[in-house]
Amino acid sequence: MPKNNKYLEVDNLTKHFGGLAAVEELSFSMAKGQILGLIGPNGAGKTTVFNLVTGFLPATAGRVLWNGIDLTGKKPHQIANMGIARTFQLVKPFPDLSLFDNIRVACYGPRFTSQKLSQSATEQRIYKVAATVGLPKDLNPLASTLGHGDLRLLDIARALMVQPELLLLDEPLSGLSSIETKEIVKLISQLNRQGITLFIIEHKLKELMKVADRIVAIDFGEKLAEGTPEEVVNDPKVVEAYLGTKESYGSA
């Protein structure tokens, strides 16, 4: 049985692209029910970590353990079916399909179909999830007509259809207005209260700190710090990575 705070455990995870080390012996863990944030400057390797955890990239070395299960080497659809859902840094809708169909795609994965819902029950579920994330009531328009903020909501709606235990969000607040940002932050808290464990990459530190229980900071694929939001944000290595050397800030 995995220890309480090793619900998701990344163990010496390494990814090399030819000569480039995108992620280097990265290790951290989180407990079930938490919200873990992942921060780091651009190019630090954050999305690569997500891709490694969710099977979109094969690891060069190291492991990812979830609930004691070794995820390393599994394919993305297999991992999704276990109950780990994700969104992407760049929104990935199906532009020529209606909003309804966009979400409906997720209803054909084994995790959903095993519930053996009737067609009308499935339809109700789709509308319910759409309402939960805050999409407009009319799901007929094509996804290509949606604005950026709503497309993010759409991605989250689709991720929620598989009823994930663990949800990975890659920069969910990027490109959003302050109102949209507030809405998604509220949604994140709501989902967490409903029992979903969340792992979030985000640049908007202020908002992230409002919801995250713990934060991991990385740069050049290596861990800089891990701890509570206050600890990490004040860690000198983290400050240096984001803002430059200590000297240039004149503080000890």
């Binding site: 969710t54 394919k75 992407f88 020529d96 399909l97 994965g109």
Partner: protein
Amino acid sequence: MLQALKTSRSRGSAVFFGVLMLIFYAVPIFTDNFYLLSVFTTAYLYMIFATSWDVFSGYAHLMNFGHALFIGLAGYLTAFVDRYWGLPPIVVLPMCAVLCGGMGMLIGFLTLRLKGPYFAMITIAFAAVAYESAIMFSDFTGGEEGIPGISSLTESFLGDYYFILVTMTLIYLFLLWFTRGRWGLLLKATSQNEDSVLASGIDTAWLKIRAYSISGALCGIGGCVYAYSLTHVGPTSMEQVLSTTILIMAIVGGLGTITGPFLGALVLVLFNELSRDLEEYRLLIYTTMVVVIIFVAPRGIISWGQPLARVLKLSGKRE
């Protein structure tokens, strides 16, 4: 599919195609003309080829340039089985479906798990090598001449006509049902954003492989019937020109709609018959057509059905 009929648009097109089908079934009542009826059966065969092509290439948006491989495979199998075992068509049809479905699985397994243009290349390559092999291994295949003397489908020409028509009808209805449901949705979604489909827990590679296999199997059924109706099979059943013609019919008709290729095949076969004297320019005309359609109406002539119907309905209302 019944749900699909709810919108008036679908009802309009259902009526249109219902009428078309009625005409097809009624034609022999009004005419004895052997030539005319063969034009129709040719059209039905190409409809099978084009719609079976579309169910994979039109929905997954992965171009299959060697669809005639299945026609030829089925044809040669039919010829062998007919010559050596004399089995009736109703038994040979599923055999061809299985053979071609299996070949589809093989090609799919080799290429559809990979990212990149491999699928297009391999479909051309396999079809080309099959063509070359058919010519080279002439002891088995009759070489350039092929294998003549395949039995006919039924006792009478009229029987043949309806056999082919019924086969086409069943395949067309099956494909309509197939694509209106989860297969159509998932293939289209995969073609628009594969990562999101994967992240939803669906094995896209396996999805594509199965869809391609079905495409092959159905084309194989068409190829079997084709061989019977020609009473002959040869390398020309597998040639690149045939594959390209089918592809052009589907694109001109309208990718990813099943009904588009249905229409496209009909239109092009009729056009071909009506322009007999332009025979030597045919390929040139077809290729020009597809280039024009891609630039002017990429969704095919079926996309003109909407505005056309609206125009007709409007003028009907005013009068």
